[in-house]
């Protein structure tokens, strides 16, 4: 079998991906692509990156056998890759450290980012503070309301948070606004995209920086069990934590890769954020071609998810590709199912998971029941749920 080698040099994953941006951004993307190619295998750069991942982020993150929860669910053994234990509380930091170190090498003093749940914004503000770079984070005004603690965290870290009032006032609009900033301040500014979307080289670069997750899993599973899991599960909004854990497993065909999208109120209601599961048409947004939630006129439609981090109408182009070549499967779970899994993990394992990751947990529960006790499901527990306690309390009619 040919080893998996995507994207092509123009950033295409089959018909997906690419560089769909206004001419004003082309030079900046060319510069970024060239610099990334230069440093991605550079020993000094990698040494600096690995030092920070170890000493600043706290890697490697452990894998934990959720034994009590597995017993309660009944069926396969569920293991959790504890990205929630990273500094800043999610996998997002793996990528921001990588991109910020690249920005430093490129001599860019100013960092911008978009954020949905705020985890990427916090991770970007964190590394910007550590490297002494100016940081501006764009965040949909709806998300600013939903994720107040993270907004304050970013401010504590010295970042400027700009609420975005256009469009649906969520993640996609924050991305539009960050792109507008970038095109205006191209010579001084590095744009740290937080997910495996955007124009090439972002989907590849964000995947690469997050693939430390899957690389660690391979050796950790080997140490713990002497074998690899039967299934690897991760939630998918844009899809960065999923690509990070999937990528090193793509060439192991016996390992099933399953991405879990947000079904919101239910796929059939239309109020969801699951373009792959709902068979949305192919389209072009934010610099790449992918499956995209849109109406018949090609206008992007509003998405719904209880979790701000999954509330995105598109999906990283590599996920679209993995779906088409049938290397990964994509399913969706509802807000309610994710909430149930959230509470379940809190009570049986003493771990408060992020609502995003709770989607993957909810599907792990369903799937484990259909599997044997000697089988193994590895879930990317991509983030911790401290940021979500206000949301959950509100749903439970509790005033904090």
């Amino acid at each position: 079998m040919q080893p998996y080698d995507m994207p092509d040099e123009k950033g295409h994953f089959g018909q997906f991906g690419g560089v769909f941006v206004a001419e004003t951004l082309i030079e900046a993307l060319d510069e970024l692509r060239i610099m990334y190619e230069k440093y991605r295998h550079d020993p000094d750069f990698l040494k600096e990156l690995h030092y920070d991942l170890k000493h600043f982020v706290g890697r490697p993150s452990p894998i934990y056998h959720a034994k009590r929860w597995s017993d309660r669910v009944g069926g396969a053994q569920i293991y959790l890759k504890r990205e929630d234990l990273n500094h800043t509380g999610a996998h997002k930091v793996n990528n921001t450290v990588g991109q910020a170190l690249l920005a430093k090498r490129m001599g860019k003093p100013r960092i911008i980012a978009e954020t949905g749940a705020g985890q990427h914004g916090v991770a970007t503000a964190t590394i910007s503070a550590r490297l002494g770079l100016e940081c501006v984070v764009y965040m949909g005004s709806e998300d600013v309301k939903r994720q107040a603690p993270n907004v304050y965290r970013m401010k504590l870290l010295g970042a400027t948070v700009v609420p975005v009032e256009s469009g649906s006032k969520t993640l996609k609009d924050a991305l539009n606004e960050a792109m507008r900033d970038w095109v205006t301040n191209i010579s001084t500014t590095f744009y740290i995209i937080g997910t495996v979307a955007g124009p090439h080289p972002y989907p590849m670069m964000v995947r690469d920086f997050n693939s430390v997750v899957g690389v660690e899993c391979k050796s950790q599973m080997n140490e713990m069990l002497g074998r690899q899991p039967d299934v690897v599960l991760a939630c998918v909004g844009g899809g960065s934590n999923a690509m990070g854990i999937f990528y090193p497993y793509i060439d192991l065909p016996d390992v099933r890769l399953i991405g879990v999208e947000a079904a919101g109120h239910g796929i059939e209601t239309g109020k969801h954020a699951a373009p792959l599961t709902a068979n949305s048409p192919i389209g072009v947004l934010h610099g790449n071609r992918t499956y995209l939630m849109q109406n018949e006129e090609g206008q992007i439609i509003e998405t719904h998810s209880i979790s701000a981090g999954l509330d995105y109408p598109g999906v990283g182009p590599e996920h679209a590709w993995l779906k088409d070549i049938k290397r990964a499967e994509y399913v969706a779970v509802t807000d309610t199912e994710a909430l149930d899994a959230f509470h379940s993990l809190c009570l049986t394992e003493g771990i408060i998971p992020a609502l995003e990751s709770s989607h993957a947990l909810a599907y792990a529960e369903k799937l484990a029941k259909t599997m044997k006790p000697d089988q193994v499901i590895l879930v990317n527990l991509s983030g911790r749920g401290d940021k979500d306690i206000n949301t959950v309390a509100k749903i439970s009619n509790i005033t904090l």
């Binding site: 256009s166 507008r180 006129e297 090609g298």
Partner: protein, 264 residues
């Protein structure tokens, strides 16, 4: 020869520069767009750039974003845009119409259908903001077969090789984005535009239009001196925003006349 090429030829013979206003189809109301187009022509527009509303106009500043949102509030999509051009053509078969928009609405109906319907509606040129030449060779070919011009953006950051690549695919005219930024952004640096435009001129005979930062008649005048066409977008939309349905036509006509006088 295309209607756009003919227009540029006639203007050149008359020693005049083209003035191209931009409005978003359906803003402020779909019933007004065609009469606004006629009014702009009557007041001195040589061509019209008609924006296709899009939910995520990444390359546009706040003014044109709001225009898109107002049009989308009336559910204006491509089928309306084509109908507007058709209706416009009932009274005006001379003025070139250029559609400007983003890739997704085009791909939603399919590139072939789009080109077919553009031809039937008698559209003259297409600017697809987020189709750089590498990603749209097939689309450009389809347009060429129907004798519709593919108009590409060039930016202050486009280097020589890039300009050459774009010129190979472009027809009608080249659209030079006069500043680093979104539509309607800060003031433009005329000297910088001038040197870039001369660089482009050495490589092509295609006319060169300049836009993205033309804020008033004085800027239009300066830009006209160094280019073949001046595109006025955000300023036109501001006029629309500041008008009501009773004085809208009067106000945009007045602005158009001011620009015309300045450019002449």
């Amino acid at each position: 020869m295309s209607r756009i090429a003919n227009t540029f030829k006639a203007l050149k013979e008359a020693n005049r520069k083209a003035l191209i206003p931009y409005i978003t189809a359906g803003d402020p109301h779909p019933d007004l767009t065609v009469s606004m187009m006629h009014a702009l022509v009557d007041s001195g527009a040589d061509m019209i750039e008609l924006g296709i509303p899009f939910s995520d106009p990444m390359a546009d500043g706040p003014t044109i974003q709001r225009a898109s949102e107002r049009a989308l509030a009336h559910h204006v999509g491509l089928s309306h845009v084509f109908n507007m051009v058709k209706t416009f053509r009932e009274k005006d078969t001379q003025t070139p119409i250029i559609l400007m928009g983003y890739a997704n609405p085009i791909e939603a109906i399919g590139a072939e259908t789009f080109v077919e319907r553009a031809k039937v509606s008698d559209v003259d040129g297409i600017i697809t903001v987020d189709y750089p030449p590498e990603e749209c060779t097939q689309f450009t070919k389809l347009l060429k077969e129907k004798n519709i011009d593919s108009i590409f953006l060039l930016s202050p950051t486009s280097e020589l090789d890039r300009v050459k690549l774009i010129i190979e695919q472009a027809s009608g005219f080249l659209y030079y984005v006069s500043l680093k930024g979104v539509t309607g952004a800060a003031n433009i640096d005329i000297e910088q535009v001038k040197s870039k435009v001369s660089m482009i001129r050495e490589l092509t005979d295609l006319p060169i239009g300049v836009g993205f930062g033309v804020k008033d008649a004085a800027t239009a005048k300066e830009v006209a001196k160094i280019s073949d066409a001046v595109v006025v977008g955000s300023r036109m939309i501001q006029e629309i925003e500041n008008s009501n349905k009773d004085n809208l036509i009067q106000n945009i006509s007045k602005l158009m006349k001011e620009l015309r006088e300045a450019v002449n």
